[in-house]
Structures are given as C-alpha cells and as structure tokens.
C-alpha cells in the first residue's frame, strides 16, 4: 500500500515537473495532423506561433476582464 502511494506521488511529481509553457505548446500543436506537421514551413510555423501567442494574450485579457 505504501509502495502504491509513493508510486502515485512519483507520478504526480513527474506531471508537476512539466513546465506549463511546454505543456501548452504540446497541447496546441496536437491539433495538427501528421501530414500538416511534416509540411509546415518555417515561416508558416513562425506565423502560427506568433498568432498563438496573441491568441493566448487575448484569452488572458478576457479572463482578467471577468
């Protein structure tokens, strides 16, 4: 039982250690298909990341207004 608890705690610790920004980026990027990921050009990716950044800021502003 103790072992199980410590395993669970380790799992939680492992999850906690993922930086939020990285987690958000991974989740955001998961919307693209395999083909899209293979073909996204550098400039398109720059644009997409820039757009994502501003979209996030917009979301934050919305939350702060509430």
């Amino acid at each position: 039982m103790k072992k199980l608890k410590s395993m669970n705690n380790n799992k939680k610790e492992n999850k906690k250690r993922i930086p939020l920004e990285i987690l958000e980026n991974i989740v955001w990027f998961s919307q693209f298909s395999l083909r899209q990921k293979l073909k996204i050009h550098y400039k398109q990716k720059q644009f997409a990341l820039k757009y994502r950044g501003s979209a996030l800021q917009w979301e934050m502003k919305k939350k702060l207004k509430k």
């Binding site: 993922i18 990285i22 991974i26 298909s33 395999l34 083909r35 293979l38 073909k39 550098y42 990341l49």
Partner: protein
C-alpha cells in the same frame, strides 16, 4: 512532383521500396508533438539500403546530391527539385556525448510508425528513448530544447 506533396512522396517511396529509414532530428521531435522549427529533414538510412536510396532519390525523383554514390561518406544531402533539403546519415552505429552506443539495427527494432488516421501513410521514427539518445550526440542549445520537449512528452504519455 508537386511541392505540396514532395516529402510525403519521398516517405511513401521509402515505405513502398522497403528502404530501412528513420526520420530523426527536429522533424521527428515535431512528429512526437513538439512545436519546433526545422528547415530540413534528417534521415538515418541502413547502410545496406544506400544503393536503393540513390536509385530512388537521384534516378527516379531527380534529386541533386552532394556526394557520389560510390563514395563512402557517412553523411550527405539530397536537394529535391523544389528545393527541400534531406540530410542523409548512413552508418551502422554512433556514440553520443554520454558514450552510449546507438545502432541502427536496435533503433529500427524499437522504432514506431506514426500514422495518419484513415490513411496508409506512415513515418518511421525512433522510439522516444532512442531519439533522446540521438539528441545527445551534439547537445547544442536546440538539442537541449528538443530533449526537454521529448522528456515532457514521455511523462505525458506515461501519465
């Protein structure tokens, strides 16, 4: 060959012709789910399939190559007709900065196929642990960033 489907056509050819390959480098990290930038495609090819690789890319698809097929260079590049760059690595094994030996035979055994849903199209990439080992060959800042993403993705998959 249309620009849009060029890389897909190349990977389809590898799969169809049984050329043993692994997509490595940043593109592989991206396919695992990390939103990163990469200009070119890195492929690790089994040395026994080098001849067939040349027959496909140079003879069939008319790609330009930086090396003669008879040369025994372990690293060279192909440029497609539309300017995409493919870096090719042809060796049996390599050691990373931690002195770990990474062989193509073992890496192929542990490899995974990332598939496009509702399609026969797939890409062969190293298992996540092998990709992390491969990323430790040079350990440039961008490699460390890649490793951080791969470790995070591994944790997410395990969780």
């Amino acid at each position: 060959m249309g620009n849009e489907k060029e890389i897909e056509k190349i990977i389809r050819g590898f799969n169809k012709k049984g050329i043993r390959y692994l997509l490595i480098g940043r593109q592989a990290v991206m396919l695992y789910g990390a939103p990163l930038f990469s200009f070119d495609y890195d492929f690790w090819i089994h040395p026994e399939d080098k001849q067939r690789l040349f027959e496909f890319l140079e003879d069939e698809l008319d790609c330009e190559v930086t090396s003669n097929r008879s040369e025994r260079k372990p690293v060279f590049s192909f440029y497609t007709r539309t300017g995409e760059k493919l870096d090719i690595f042809v060796f049996l094994y390599v050691r990373n900065s931690e002195k770990e030996k990474i062989s193509i035979e073992e890496t192929l055994k542990n490899s995974i196929k990332i598939r496009e849903p509702h399609s026969h199209f797939y890409v062969v990439v190293p298992g996540i642990d092998d990709l992390i080992k491969l990323k430790k060959i040079k350990t440039r800042p961008k490699d460390l960033e890649d490793i951080e993403y791969l470790e995070s993705i591994k944790k997410l998959k395990m969780g």
